[in-house]
Subunit: 286 residues, 2 copies
Amino acid sequence: MPAPLTDLSRCSLHTMTTKPWSLAQAVDGYRRAGIPGITVWRQHLQAAGIDAGAKLLRASGLTVTALCRGGFFPAVDRAGREKAIADNRQAIDEAAAIGAPMVVLVCGAVPGLPLAEARRQIADGIAAVADHARSSGVRLAIEPLHPSYAGDRSAINTMAQARRICQQFDLELPGSSAVDRKVVGIAADVYHIWWDDALEDELVLAGHHGWLHAFHVCDWKLVQSEMLNDRGIMGEGCIPIRTIRGWAESAGFRGFNEVEIFSTKYWAEDQDALVAKCAAAYLAAV
Amino acid sequence: MPAPLTDLSRCSLHTMTTKPWSLAQAVDGYRRAGIPGITVWRQHLQAAGIDAGAKLLRASGLTVTALCRGGFFPAVDRAGREKAIADNRQAIDEAAAIGAPMVVLVCGAVPGLPLAEARRQIADGIAAVADHARSSGVRLAIEPLHPSYAGDRSAINTMAQARRICQQFDLELPGSSAVDRKVVGIAADVYHIWWDDALEDELVLAGHHGWLHAFHVCDWKLVQSEMLNDRGIMGEGCIPIRTIRGWAESAGFRGFNEVEIFSTKYWAEDQDALVAKCAAAYLAAV
């Protein structure tokens, strides 16, 4: 287990963690709290306007750690799949506009569509946009989602499934670091993958092959009031977050630890207080 | 995909599906609905009394398909683990008393205990009771639980993890069929394992090695009001149940399809009507 983190220098917050805040409020709030990184969700960026948002972010001094989110490639017909591909191209353009090094992909699933077929469509969708991503200087980070979301959010539910897609691509980004040198890689979120007995091995593989693009933290509460928006702040649940961070760092990861918490409960609280809670929990439990 | 089932001859209901009913009410209700199988939960059996329950079941003409549930082996100290082992011996005795061919194991997990350690304790716990199971003529069926339950219910979350425990044992039950000839095997519940890309392969392996002890059905609703007791009736969700039944049957499985639905919503309804719904859904969607 690695030593505790002693400062916030590698801490990033997802704007969805403070969902009620506009992009401008998030930028301001994170800066006041001494959080140096921000992962921007598209609804917050689009509400601000892409150009205005990009300008705001450049002026903020914050490091943009990612744009969330692209993906949702599978669809029941070709028109749906082409629409998804067009939307992912746009997400890549938005990422480039705000200086985000990657677009996080929630890959998609469609009720009734066999998961194996969804996975094929996901690989095809990524293939359709990977060159555009590379030429835009933007990585694509496949986020394996918890098996709870296999029904309608992602047919990619383990690190191994994400890896098998990464293995289909050999595109590199010039000037990248070893651990994330590939265009198509993985966003490893402890909420989704903490239970997987292959996690340590897969993190090592991902780091070795240049696929380890991002590391997300929050916690898994034993009792959740619903399936999507009752995540815990780090330390509130059962995930061995620090152990897993140690695995990621053994694999070479030195990027930001991104705090991504969807919580109806916390969104109803004062968001400055929530950011302070996240910062304290980051030091105590990540 | 196999042909639809045309009758209820392989249908069994878990008494937990009709939780408000006593064992006597369940026996009566299932018989009236033409359901030939019953998997008995221990709280229902213990409320009836073991001897009285056994007599009731023998007289009912129903086939007892399993006793639910043993397991919960991991604990923070030796006393806790020994208590669990004693309880599992008792479950085996109860299964023998009511003529249940197996005890279903929800293997257990303890918040804060590393999952790898929990898995070792699970294997040790099963090892401690396997001979007693064999000499009692009772199988042990490891039920892999959905990764949602890795925090506090089971560190065994995939068919592969269950298989690796089965592989540590080579005990056979004389007179068993090929597909479930081993003492230590698996209860495959579609709710828990439908998302797993190794499912078909693991079912085939389980059948080949004599580990395929049980097959449970219900459905995964895309929106669930909470994590435990909002399961769907077959056809209400996104699980390709018939496809998976086909895989189990390709693996040699010819046992009962056990309907196991935990649902606060359905428990509040008339239980005769619920049994009728389950029977109709069994024919339509299993």
